[in-house]
Amino acid sequence: MFPVIDWSLVSLEVLISIILVSLVVVDIVLPKNADKDWIGIFSFIALAGLIIFWLTQGSLSGTTFSGMFVMDSLAWFFKTFFLIAMVFVFAMTQEFFKSLGERRNEFYLLLWLALIGMCLVASSADFLLLFISIEILTISLYVMTAYLKSDALSIEAGMKYLILGALASGFFLYGISFLYGTTHSTHFSVIQSYCQIHAMSPMTLFALVLIFAAVGFKIAAVPFHMWVADVYQGAPTPVTALLSVGSKAAGFIILIRLFFSIFGAWHAEWGLALAILSAITMTYGNLVAMFQTNIKRLLGYSSISHAGYLLMGAAAGTALGASGINFYLLGYLFTNLAAFLVIIVFSIATKSDEIADYAGLSQRSSLLACTMLLALVSLAGMPPLVGFFGKFTLLMAVIKSGYIWLALIAGVNIVISLYYYLMVAKRIYVDPPRHTAKIIVPSKIRLLLVIAILGIVIIGIFQGPFLDAAMAAVQGMYLSHL
């Protein structure tokens, strides 16, 4: 019996696929010209159209493809998130490949494929579909990480990411096979109803641990963080930005679906374990970040510590915790991408990612310096910026769930992180510059920098509507267990 397919639910994925295929055709038909970045311009227009289209589709909900593909408020929220993140990543890519004109077009195609992967992850309601979506995202990231073939660091990063990523995929499949063996299904709804009736057995515990290992790899939680620093440093900067925002958010949507719907009934069993992991992750990330001299490595370790903060929301196991994760990620999107925009402009102008070279940036470009300062301070969690309110929501969630010790550890961590974020800010504003040449910021990047700054400040001050959106995303979740 052929399944009835509701095409309106998969409209975004279908549109992206159509764009992808037409870009391949454009790539073949149009003359190869290093100066004219056809695919980049085309991609930008297509992405703008997609965002406008997608913002009108907020009320979509339902399942299709025999219940495998789900469209709910959570999926809508995260797909909007991925589309916005992609605008920044495309702009970074355009800048980045101005100096490396070759092999630019395939990179755009891989970015589009990664976008499809992320959107599908957000909509998966079956472990089989989830696995394939994760692989679409991750394999395109492997290729993009190793993209600078002549750069040894990039190849090393790609290799490390590939090997550890393959290991994580293996864990994931192994975990799924145990779940399948126990529940005789890969579908979320069947597994959820199994979990509601049965207590946790060693078998399902084993499955849960294995699946969490794979997700922990994606979100860069300790002890699955080994790849982060090297990959963040070696990958082309647009890819690092995508990894730190897109790939992490994709991991967290899986986490939300796992812990707030499928395994929601077993909160008593996994809550404490997640809280401990969260504490270890944020402490490790912050302590190691203090000793970094490369800005991309620093943001790599800072990304580990932010995974720790975000895990607090999952450990809380309440609707407040889940919406805290959503809100925090929204703030993290603008904050982190602002930082990476500065890094990419700076590294193109100076060919350096060393923090020491950032000395006196305020005299070379006030916009870059100001953006970096705001991004760093928001990452550290200073009011009234968005990072503060995100951390506040998550702290409130864990305190309400009774993990006061975790909130205290998080508080200590926020103080530690202030130290190294402000050290970079001090270099930018206080130290004398090594070179005095002004850094010219292209107009498109300037526009995006302003958007990012507005995002950091406005979401920080007027949190209400954004927090409501984050809450609405959780409340309308498919198979919610809250």
């Binding site: 019996m1 052929f2 399944p3 397919i5 696929s17 493809f65 025999s66 495998m68 593909f69 100096s99 490396l100 070759e102 092999r103 395939e106 990179f107 195609l109 891989l110 494929l113 499809i116 992967g117 599908l120 079956d126 089989l128 579909l129 394939i132 979506s133 692989e135 679409i136 394999i139 395109s140 492997y142 290729v143 190793a146 993209y147 600078l148 073939k149 002549s150 750069d151 990039s154 145990f178 063996g181 126990t182 057995s201 060693p202 078998m203 515990l205 084993f206």
Partner: protein, 173 residues
């Protein structure tokens, strides 16, 4: 099907897998893997999953491992001195992690065997049954694998393309 064949192929599988890990000559590693996959596909046939068994044999033993053999032969890895377990700094950590993993695996498996037995006849592994399921219930994941193949093509083309013009790239990166 008599359990004799199951134990026979399971024993072959275990010994071949051990040989994959323990043999010092890379050529023997690969050839042991061929034997292991052959035994595994026999196990699938015993479970009446004919299609999976056949594909395993064709794709892995036939195509993938022949590639491995080519690579091993081309690179002439015989002379390579491999790091032994005793030389590794992390051997105790590795042993501990391995022990923990294995013991929890056994614990999990014991509870599984107690809890239920799978009915072999309920699994229909014929090509017809798999084809029906692929094009109805599992249509979306099946179609999406085409995207994976697309990534593989883009990846190989772009990464291999760079190798031809490394001289140009080094100036810029």
């Amino acid at each position: 099907m008599s359990p004799f064949f199951f134990y026979l192929f399971a024993a072959i599988l275990i010994f071949a897998s051990l040989s994959v890990v323990l043999a010092r000559n890379p050529l023997y590693n690969v050839l042991s893997l061929v034997v292991a996959i052959f035994a595994l596909s026999c196990l699938f046939v015993i479970l009446e999953a004919f299609f999976v068994g056949m594909i395993l044999l064709l794709v892995y033993a036939g195509a993938v491992l022949v590639f491995f053999l080519f690579v091993v032969m081309c690179l002439n890895l015989n002379s390579l001195t491999l790091t032994t377990a005793a030389q590794s700094r992390f051997r105790w950590l590795g042993a501990l992690a391995g022990l923990m993993f294995t013991s929890s695996f056994f614990l999990a498996f014991k509870s599984f065997i107690k809890a239920q037995t799978m009915d072999a006849s309920s699994i229909r592994g014929t090509i017809e049954a798999i084809g029906k399921i692929l094009f109805t219930d599992y249509l979306l994941p099946f179609e999406l694998t085409s995207l994976l193949l697309m990534i593989a093509i883009f990846g190989i083309v772009s990464l291999a393309q760079g190798a031809l013009s490394t001289g140009k790239d080094t100036d810029n990166s």
